[in-house]
Symmetry: C2
Subunit: 142 residues, 2 copies
DNA sequence: TTATTGAACGAGAATCATTATAAACGATTG
DNA sequence: CAATCGTTTATAATGATTCTCGTTCAATAA
């Protein structure tokens, strides 16, 4: 805990973020709970240390941390359902900023190597792969 | 259009779906508009042919088509935000059914080959890759 | 240390996408 | 023709997320 404490102060300084108690605790809650967590579950953890915290504060700080690169977003798609009628094997190139999706053809992946690394029982029925980055126009805007 | 007409009747027969006018038109709207579309935009397209259609019908049928495999879902994550404090390079294995995410290590991808296929201007700042399939427990339930 | 100021916080309202419910409809079968 | 079953419609409900606004706090300089 001491470590993330220091770590957060450094990161905050580097990104010009004010170090508030709430931010510190939100950050520590994410780091302490390994895995991929929802705002609600982080809120629950933070509440144990700051009972008066508000859910909006958790959301605000998670967004802020993601934007600064202190955290990664594990759900980088558009927030509404998208469908694709193309059932041919192809992969997706997703822009982390504007959420646009482009198709790419070709075998990008070494399937043999991948299957060796898969955890037992995971079934790659239709190996759709998505690669994330910045699209041309978002990169230009930066 | 004639083609998707036939195509849909065949697909519907194969999956035991009733062929209703609304379904036909929803399916055709998705296929006709190449790309990755939201329920709202499909609704708009369908309305031009069936002004009385309801948005719920569009949602119902998109879900149905996805479950049957007539369409692919382009937003296969949990519907709530997830964050990850692990900034080390790693990739994700996502279960298309329960939306769980596991980490995998290793260079899965041939970056040289990938960069050759990238459209101009796309920036792979942090090449996070996600591979979709069925996790062990969802496969067991099938 | 204290005063100042802009940023951050908390509470709750508002918004938006999606799903559930119930009534009406339509096709099919007896 | 009546009964039935799945589909559609309209609308209500839900759930996640963002916004608003009054209050409080952290950073900075005196």
């Amino acid at each position: 805990m001491r470590l993330t404490h220091e770590q957060f102060r450094e990161l905050a300084a580097k990104h010009g973020l004010a170090v508030t108690h709430q931010r510190q605790v939100v950050y520590e809650a994410v780091i302490a709970s390994h895995g991929h967590h929802s705002p609600e579950s982080i809120y629950a953890a933070v509440r144990r240390r700051i009972p008066s915290v508000s859910l909006a504060t958790v959301y605000n700080n998670l967004r802020l941390f993601i934007e600064c690169g202190l955290l990664r977003e594990v759900t980088p798609h558009a927030s509404t359902l998208r469908v694709d009628g193309n059932l041919e094997p192809h992969h997706h190139l997703v822009c982390s900023r504007c959420k646009s999706v482009q198709d790419i053809e070709g075998d990008l992946i070494d399937l043999k190597r991948l299957s060796r690394q898969l955890p037992a029982g995971f079934d790659l029925t239709q190996p759709l792969i998505e690669v994330f980055g910045l699209c041309r126009s978002c990169r230009a805007k930066q």
